[in-house]
């Protein structure tokens, strides 16, 4: 189906009328998440990889690494950076070129969820303090757009990180040399994100493409395994009341726990 550049008022009215009746276009309830399908480690040259379908949203994420110098304010910590590219075949709205503002927003929200969520143990990615650390690249490619790319991207980023294998190194004459072993990326907690969409006063989880094109605003919560909120992002013009935010942050914790239990992402950790 074509994602239209301009959404007609009829389309918007259709979605709102359904919401008023307590229904959604694809038959889900307001708090039902779409089905998630995951496949990992299918790219031989990537350190880790994951293919994630969230409904019809489809993201492929790969992990590459590099050995580089750490930031001066954290000399004994490795680095992880995220990148998202919307491939033009994912939607007729996308054009080839450098990542646009939406792609950057998706990247930054996912990046914050990972960075502040006690997720990667950066200290274990250090080879020699102040000189050599692992730099991880989490590169997400959106293959098909069907709404809620933040959640789909976050799941694929975590699945790819968990499935990755890095060669371990020792220092010889100041250089990092392979010591013959491999390690998985040391991960403490798995943050996952959940997004609520909003049209007028109707709030629902995991907006699909039709809903995302007409909604007034969204709010994403990234939550780690101890139930701590590690990042939030309000986007779109809709505003939220204090009561709503509290209610939906609690709901988000619950939804993420459910999601984490069904996905069981730790099953993708390779044996070394």
């Amino acid at each position: 189906m074509d994602a239209p550049m301009v959404v007609s008022t009829i389309q918007r009215k259709y979605v709102i009328d359904l919401l008023k009746k307590g229904k959604r276009a694809d038959g889900r309830g307001f708090l039902d998440y779409r089905e998630v399908k995951i496949q990992t480690n299918f790219i031989p040259k990537a350190e880790g990889s994951a293919e994630v379908y969230l409904g019809e949203s489809f993201v492929i994420t790969g992990i590459k690494y590099d050995i580089g110098t750490p930031f001066p304010d954290s000399p004994d910590e490795g680095v992880a950076t995220c990148m998202t590219e919307f491939i033009p075949f994912a939607s007729p709205m996308y054009e080839s070129g450098p990542p646009d503002i939406d792609a950057i927003e998706v990247t930054r929200v996912i990046d914050r969820g990972i960075r502040h969520g006690d997720c990667i143990q950066y200290k274990k990615l250090c080879i020699k303090a102040g000189e050599l650390v692992y730099i991880l690249f989490i590169d997400m490619y959106v293959m098909n757009y069907s709404g809620n790319l933040i959640d789909a991207g976050a799941i694929s980023a975590m699945a790819a990180l968990l499935s990755a294998k890095l060669p371990t190194a020792k220092i010889v004459d100041g250089n990092a040399v392979w010591d013959g072993g491999y390690m998985t990326i040391p991960i403490n907690q798995i943050p996952l994100s959940v997004t609520f969409g909003r049209i007028e006063d109707y709030i629902f989880v995991d907006p699909n493409m039709d809903e995302e094109l007409v909604l007034d605003g969204k709010i994403s919560f990234a939550i780690n395994e101890t139930g701590q909120i590690t990042s939030m992002q309000k986007s779109g013009e809709a505003s939220w009341t204090e009561e709503e935010l509290i209610k939906y942050s609690k709901l988000a914790v619950q939804k993420v726990n459910d999601l984490r239990a069904t996905l069981n992402l730790r099953q993708y950790i390779p044996k070394i």
Partner: protein, 307 residues
């Protein structure tokens, strides 16, 4: 800089028994798999697995050309965008497009444009996007295969499918479909694509050393490989339409069941409808139409009046 992992490179690319390092015969393809209709939004799409190459291609169009000045008033344009994912290769590729990608896009464009009826789409563009998820030598050939399939899946009229495969030379022998290692360590590489309707070459590059006799063998091998790929391509297209047929047949069965349940009502309705086209035809010559915009309402009114 990544950590260098020493690999055991084989000393010879062809074993004593005449088989290659991965056990293939000289003129044997790597495992090949393809599927169409894999991306929900794209007008046409294809996924190709050729050896360890994993490639997605998506097609949009014919649609408006951006930027406008590229549009041609006499015929449509075909634009191919070949891109590699950062993680598809050993050293992370920079996400910015490079000259290699631009060149490959161009040669694939040239390979596919003659199979389309571009004169049917003046002022429009057909755009093909190719994404290499995993690269393993011979991506430009596999990309051409995928792009051709995606165009077919988009329902565009085409003169022929195009199948891409490379030949090469290793240890002085001509081989079909070089793998990554044979590509790097071999002494020649001939990536090509064949338009299957007349078996002419629509993509051809060469790099290395070969004499004309060896080139002849390469061409024969390429055509042989292309025929095998073509068979898989046509099977993939048939598979999709079989899938659609099965789905519609299942749907039809459900509809049949439902209509049987509510049998008396639809039959009665059908009878009523049968009367409609006859009556207005009788009426119209007798009464002049003051409001031709609403013929259906008018005819119903007439019907009531006559009753």
């Amino acid at each position: 800089m990544t950590i260098l992992i020493p690999e055991d490179y084989p000393k010879t690319l062809i074993n004593k028994d005449g088989k290659r390092i991965d056990g293939r015969a000289l003129d044997e393809l790597r495992p090949f798999k393809c599927k169409i209709g894999v991306l929900a939004n794209a007008h046409g799409s294809a996924y190709v697995e050729h050896g360890k190459n994993k490639i997605y291609a998506g097609v949009y169009g014919p649609r408006e050309v951006h930027p406008r000045h590229l549009a041609r008033p006499d015929k449509g344009i075909l634009r191919v965008h070949y891109r590699m994912s950062t993680y598809s290769v050993h050293e992370r590729k920079s996400p910015a497009p490079n000259r290699r990608e631009r060149e490959i896009s161009k040669i694939i464009e040239d390979a596919l444009a003659p199979t389309l009826f571009l004169e049917l789409y003046p002022n429009s563009a057909i755009e093909v996007f190719i994404q290499i998820v995993s690269a393993d030598g011979g991506t430009r050939c596999a990309s051409t295969t995928a792009a051709s399939l995606a165009l077919a899946d988009a329902g565009l009229p085409m003169k022929s499918l195009v199948a891409g495969v490379a030949a090469g030379k290793a240890d002085g022998k001509i081989i079909l479909d070089c793998g990554d290692l044979e590509d790097k360590a071999g002494s020649a590489d001939v990536p090509a694509a064949v338009r299957m309707i007349d078996e002419e070459f629509t993509l051809l590059q060469f790099d290395g050393e070969m004499n004309p006799e060896e080139l002849e063998i390469s061409m024969k091998y390429i055509k042989k490989g292309a025929r095998e790929i073509y068979a898989a391509q046509t099977a993939a297209i048939k598979e999709k339409f079989d899938r659609i047929r099965q789905e519609t047949e299942a749907e039809n069965k459900i509809i049949e069941k439902e209509t049987k349940k509510a049998e008396p009502k639809p039959v009665a309705k059908v009878e009523e409808k049968k009367e409609d086209p006859i009556e207005p035809v009788k009426e119209t010559p007798a009464e002049p139409k003051p409001e031709p915009e609403e013929p259906t309402e008018k005819s119903e009114d007439n019907k009531e009046e006559t009753k």
